[in-house]
């Protein structure tokens, strides 16, 4: 696998606070004297930029960043970057979208009441004799430490499996909304990894807020459309300045950009 990926810290997190993220969209605007305007969108002008400030990095963590900078040769080479503040899954609230692959005998029905008071939850019904799953595959480094989380409930108590690559964890699903969480690191040699839920035979469960984050614990649910995996991201600077503030304590700031037109 030759995919260059941005390194995680020893904790499994990708960054520290504060995180600054900037989205830029380009629109050509022609404004007339009376204030009316004609607009032309330029979707390829989209740019996303992160500023990641690190403090108290260990020697190993600072070394990993330095090594990554060398491998990327500053701004020269692209790499895969996972949004540290985002949900990596695409269409996390639309389980009938084509990014999701449901088992052939799994029924997926939307419009179910969710724990936030809306109707964004989904009912997964497996009437077959074997387990059925629904998964989404991401072109992301499988060796990363990921956290999969979801809100689930079921009329009867069942045990659902959470899937991260070749890892799985059984979680009990009760009749009240409960958030289930599974953190796992997959096969480091693979260049893609799948995430999902497995529904046992002859059972049904309601699901809301499926989320994958590149860290060890779940944060608040973020509904997505595009997901948080950025192929062809680049460092914004050719210089990495690391300040050593003590023994085994380093700090630095890394700027990363992702532009559709690059």
């Amino acid at each position: 696998m030759d995919m260059l990926v941005y390194p995680q810290l020893a904790t499994g997190a990708l960054s520290q606070f504060p995180i600054r993220k900037q989205h830029r969209k380009r629109t050509v605007v022609n404004t007339a004297a009376d204030g009316t305007s004609i607009k032309l969108a330029d979707p390829n002008g989209e740019l996303t930029q992160w500023q990641l400030a690190y403090a108290d990095l260990s020697d190993a963590e600072a070394g990993a960043l330095e090594q990554f900078y060398s491998a990327a040769e500053g701004t020269l080479n692209s790499f895969v970057f996972l949004d540290p503040s985002g949900n990596l899954l695409a269409w996390s609230s639309k389980l009938d979208d084509e990014v999701w692959t449901p088992g052939p005998l799994l029924s997926v029905i939307g419009g179910i009441s969710d724990p936030d008071g809306g109707t964004e939850a989904w009912r997964l019904t497996n009437s077959s004799a074997g387990a059925q799953d629904i998964i989404q595959t991401l072109e992301a480094p499988a060796g990363y430490f990921y956290c999969l989380s979801a809100y689930v409930r079921s009329a009867q108590a069942v045990s659902a499996a959470m899937l991260i690559g070749n890892g799985r964890a059984d979680r009990t699903v009760a009749n009240q909304w409960t958030r289930i969480v599974f953190a796992f690191s997959g096969d480091a040699t693979a260049s893609s990894i799948h995430f999902g839920l497995e529904v046992p035979s002859a059972s049904s469960l309601d699901v809301f807020g499926l989320q994958v984050e590149p860290q060890g614990a779940a944060s608040a649910y973020k509904a997505t459309t595009t997901g948080g995996v950025y192929q062809d991201a680049r460092l914004a600077d050719d210089v990495l300045a690391i300040t050593t503030t003590g023994v085994n304590r380093h700090s630095c700031t890394v700027n990363i950009i992702h532009a559709k037109h690059l």
Partner: protein
């Protein structure tokens, strides 16, 4: 912050008198919205809204928080959305909404 913007023209004559006229059919409104203490879900919702509108390209209905009046044709102002998260559930950003004419 809330702004009301008129577009008037002034012609000043040699003797100091002025003639003024409207350059537009009426005022336009603008709202500056500063958001702080946002949790990750709220930040994501703002980001999705910005993306769905393609920045300042799209239009939407906006309810004036001062009086509840709905302005049906509004857009975001500016090409960028800058989100800063200083800690868990402590994110912030600033948006400007403008009323469009026509």
């Amino acid at each position: 912050m809330r702004y009301v913007l008129f577009r008037n023209q002034t012609v000043r004559f040699v003797d100091g008198t002025e003639q003024r006229y409207r350059d537009a059919s009426g005022p336009l409104h603008r709202w500056g919205i500063r958001l702080s203490e946002l949790d990750e879900g709220e930040i994501a919702a703002v980001e999705e809204f910005f993306a769905a509108n393609q920045g300042e390209f799209g239009s939407f209905a906006f309810t004036d928080p001062w009086n509840g009046q709905v302005y049906n044709n509004c857009s975001l102002l500016g090409e960028s959305l800058d989100v800063q998260t200083v800690a868990e559930t402590r994110g912030g950003t600033t948006l400007t909404v403008v009323e469009n004419r026509g």
